[in-house]
């Protein structure tokens, strides 16, 4: 398939497939993977996909990312699928599940919200799907976010 021509296989690690196109960098940000990380990361953007038209793919070599961490991806890529790879083989395959609550991932857009003050506080949002759109509601001030990708820390 096309994508295998684009990115090479990895020996061991996590493959995140079916990411909404253009969101791969945000996925890495949610997972806390950046220049300071030790893992080798390969990424493909705008890969042709039968299901999605276009999609992004991220491969993180040498790291098995926990399901809890991966589920946060559902905030911006609700259709993402995860492949855990060992010896070039898929050992486990699953879809991300939208978590009920996310902490420390989204910033509240309400500038009068206590989470945007100097208090020792971690922003917390209740997350739900409304008509296929991810909606996050600030646990503290109640502000609702519908474009969550704009408010990722």
């Amino acid at each position: 398939m096309n994508e295998h021509l684009t990115i090479s296989k990895i020996k061991e690690g996590t493959v995140i497939d079916h990411i909404n196109s253009g969101k791969a960098l945000l996925v890495l940000r949610i997972l806390g993977i950046g220049p300071q990380s030790r893992e080798t990361v390969t990424m493909a953007m705008n890969v042709p996909s039968k299901k999605m038209g276009k999609k992004d793919i991220v491969k993180v070599e040498g790291k098995f990312i926990s399901a809890e961490e991966l589920n946060r991806i559902a905030l911006i890529a609700p259709k993402a699928t995860i492949n855990l790879i060992k010896d070039y083989e898929i050992r486990r395959k699953f879809k991300v599940n939208l978590p009920d609550v996310v902490e420390g991932i989204l910033l509240c857009p309400n500038r009068n919200c206590i989470t945007n003050s100097k208090e020792p506080i971690t922003p917390r949002f209740k997350v739900s799907l409304e008509k296929d759109i991810v909606v996050a509601k600030c646990f503290y001030c109640g502000k609702k976010i519908t474009e969550v990708d704009k408010y990722i820390i």
């Binding site: 009068n112 919200c113 206590i114 503290y140 109640g142």
Partner: protein, 301 residues
């Protein structure tokens, strides 16, 4: 018996059953609130009033409720708070004060402050207003006033004035939908109820003009146009005074119509209304005391 709730942060945390329970309890405390009957049920208990924003009325009402039940009160005024704000976090202030008192009443300018404070408090915390957020004791006393002076079942109510910024109105609407009230929204266009708020509600709610509904409603709930919630002076002046209730406007009203206002009023209700049988806003202020007694005894005992 276990308390129904430990903290009171938002009216949304209460079920209809909880609300009915508090209102019934308030009724039992009414003779004590009037000074006709003595009670010492909170003797030896200490309430801390922490007001980071000025509000004499709410603070005094809590103080009256606590003292009428034999308890005592320590206060931190907005002026004292401003010196704290510079150095200490709210989290630390709450941790310290919850060592002094048996319950805390908090008013704070930031939304969500009360929920955060409750997470840092060792004692029950009651939200007395957090910015444009929640003010649940006001909502409960409003409901109590409606119950006592009008009816909660089959109610038709018009909410008049600032429906955009008024936290009182937002909380009240949420609670009234639990009682299947028919709600009319009467406001200038720039102060309409926020769309996203309306979407969340399941209720019989419609936008109307005062003229259309004055003959029909049981309650006219008037709010102050709050200057401090406006981004600029000009915007404020444009709408201020655009809703002024006079005795003449009430000629077509139902005989048992009641008029409520969270007070302080500016000029939303003309003084000519005060002497009519419809005026209930001062009685409403009194009802704050038995309702707060019910809440205090619920969380402290």
């Amino acid at each position: 018996m276990m308390s129904r709730f430990r903290h009171l942060i938002s009216i949304e945390d209460l079920s209809k059953d909880d609300i009915v329970y508090i209102l019934e309890k308030a009724e039992e405390f009414e003779p004590v609130a009037r000074g006709e009957k003595k009670s010492r049920i909170l003797e030896g208990k200490l309430l801390a009033n922490l007001f980071f924003e000025p509000s004499t009325r709410t603070r005094m009402s809590f103080e009256a409720a606590m003292k009428r039940l034999g308890g005592d009160v320590i206060n931190m005024t907005a002026q004292e708070a401003s010196s704290i704000v510079k150095g200490e976090t709210l989290a630390d202030t709450i941790r310290v004060v919850s060592k002094y008192a048996d319950a805390i009443v908090l008013r704070h300018p930031l939304e969500g402050a009360a929920r955060f404070a409750a997470e840092n408090s060792e004692v029950p915390l009651i939200n007395a207003g957090d910015g444009a957020g929640q003010h649940p004791t006001q909502t409960l006393l409003d409901l109590y006033t409606i119950k006592k002076e009008s009816r909660l079942d089959g109610l038709k109510i018009a909410l008049v004035g600032d429906l955009k910024y008024s936290r009182t109105v937002h909380s009240l609407i949420k609670a009234l939908t639990l009682f299947n009230a028919k709600i009319y929204l009467v406001s200038p266009e720039s102060l309409q109820l926020p769309e996203e708020f309306l979407e969340e509600l399941n209720g019989d709610i419609s936008i109307a003009s005062l003229d259309e509904v004055i003959e029909e409603v049981d309650v006219l709930y008037v709010t102050r146009i709050q200057k401090e919630r406006f981004p600029d002076e000009e915007e404020y002046r444009k709408v201020a005074g655009s809703y002024n209730i006079t005795a003449k406007m009430l000629e077509k009203a139902k005989d048992d119509l009641i008029i409520m206002h969270p007070l302080p009023r500016v000029d939303e209700i003309h003084v000519s209304v005060d002497s009519t049988k419809h005026a209930k806003y001062f009685q409403q202020a009194f009802y704050g005391v038995p309702v707060r007694m019910a809440i205090l005894s619920e969380v402290i005992l």
